[in-house]
Point group: C2
Chain length 223, copies 2
Amino acid sequence: MWQLLQFPLCPFSRKVRLLLSEKGVGYEPVRESPWARRDEFLDLNPAGQTPVMVDVERGVTLIDSMAICEYFEETVDKAAMLNGTAADRAEIRRLVTWFDTHFFREITGPLLLERMEKRIVHRLPPDTRALRDAMKAAVEHLDYIDYLLDHRAWLGGATMSLADLAAAAQISVADYLGGIDWKTHTTAKRWYVGMKSRPSFRPLLAERMEGVAPPPDYEKLDL
Amino acid sequence: MWQLLQFPLCPFSRKVRLLLSEKGVGYEPVRESPWARRDEFLDLNPAGQTPVMVDVERGVTLIDSMAICEYFEETVDKAAMLNGTAADRAEIRRLVTWFDTHFFREITGPLLLERMEKRIVHRLPPDTRALRDAMKAAVEHLDYIDYLLDHRAWLGGATMSLADLAAAAQISVADYLGGIDWKTHTTAKRWYVGMKSRPSFRPLLAERMEGVAPPPDYEKLDL
């Protein structure tokens, strides 16, 4: 049985969990708080980040969310998430990096620091300027999602792919932390409600991070 | 014919160039300076980063160095760089992310800012404290490379892989910018001299960035 070391608001763990659920791979979630920098966790993963997956019986440890996704894409045929030609797959991988890197650095990362880590670890108030910058960046990213969906059925192309899972994972954490204003962005909103409606998504939406409450509409399907 | 948009000290472009050369894929290098934020380049790649590869005849654009490497790994059989079982491949991908993300953030990125961008763009002296921090981080990363090579023939496992190319690409740029002290780290040094000796590596070592000279030993094979 796979163990998945993660915490409820880790966007990279959410991407992996969505993939595992779509593919029907069972796992036991194990709580890990990377900010605690537990020695045993750092021995396992010197990068100090979630998610990490461990299968003790088979002696396999998987580290880095993209490496984990590629592993299950290679080993489980069901619900292929890197579809199409080599060029199509390159475009999907480009977008996964886009959301994992740029969206995280500009939006999810600052929101996690200001609204989660500062509250539960440092007992400090959030920096309102950093929050404002993150919310401004979120508007630009939703504009980009609108633009992509004006040209394609799904973010990465004609079918649902890892790009949709990566984007929805980041957005769901930003949304939990009050960083997304859904008033405009009709196209992005319709796509995100579709993602939220999937059986793979429901368990994530039901989870709560201790001491940090989501906004009232967080779980709703009629934004 | 593929065009590769890059600049001589881009570590991500170097990783791709090593892969293309090992695989025997021809390409025309096209100079792009991401810090100039050229409008046409940002239209091509909203992330504003090199490398980008374009094949005009086939109408294919590849963005993001890992997506580019996966593309050529999928389409060109020669010199496979993601070898072994799915778990072996996950370990190689973990290390590529390690060097692309952590080594770059702690070492290559700060060195490029302090010793290249500040000199040729901003006409400012480097921040000596930032340089010292980068060189200290480089020692830790070389320790980790020593550790890996104490347990394996190559960084990612039993054969040369994309992990070696990613690490050597980052190290070569850090070395060009005077950030690597080769005095200790015998094991890492032996591995790096082996990488430098490869025909794929020689053209990179012969290139110069205008206004930024490498240290005298940069090209030498007997460090």
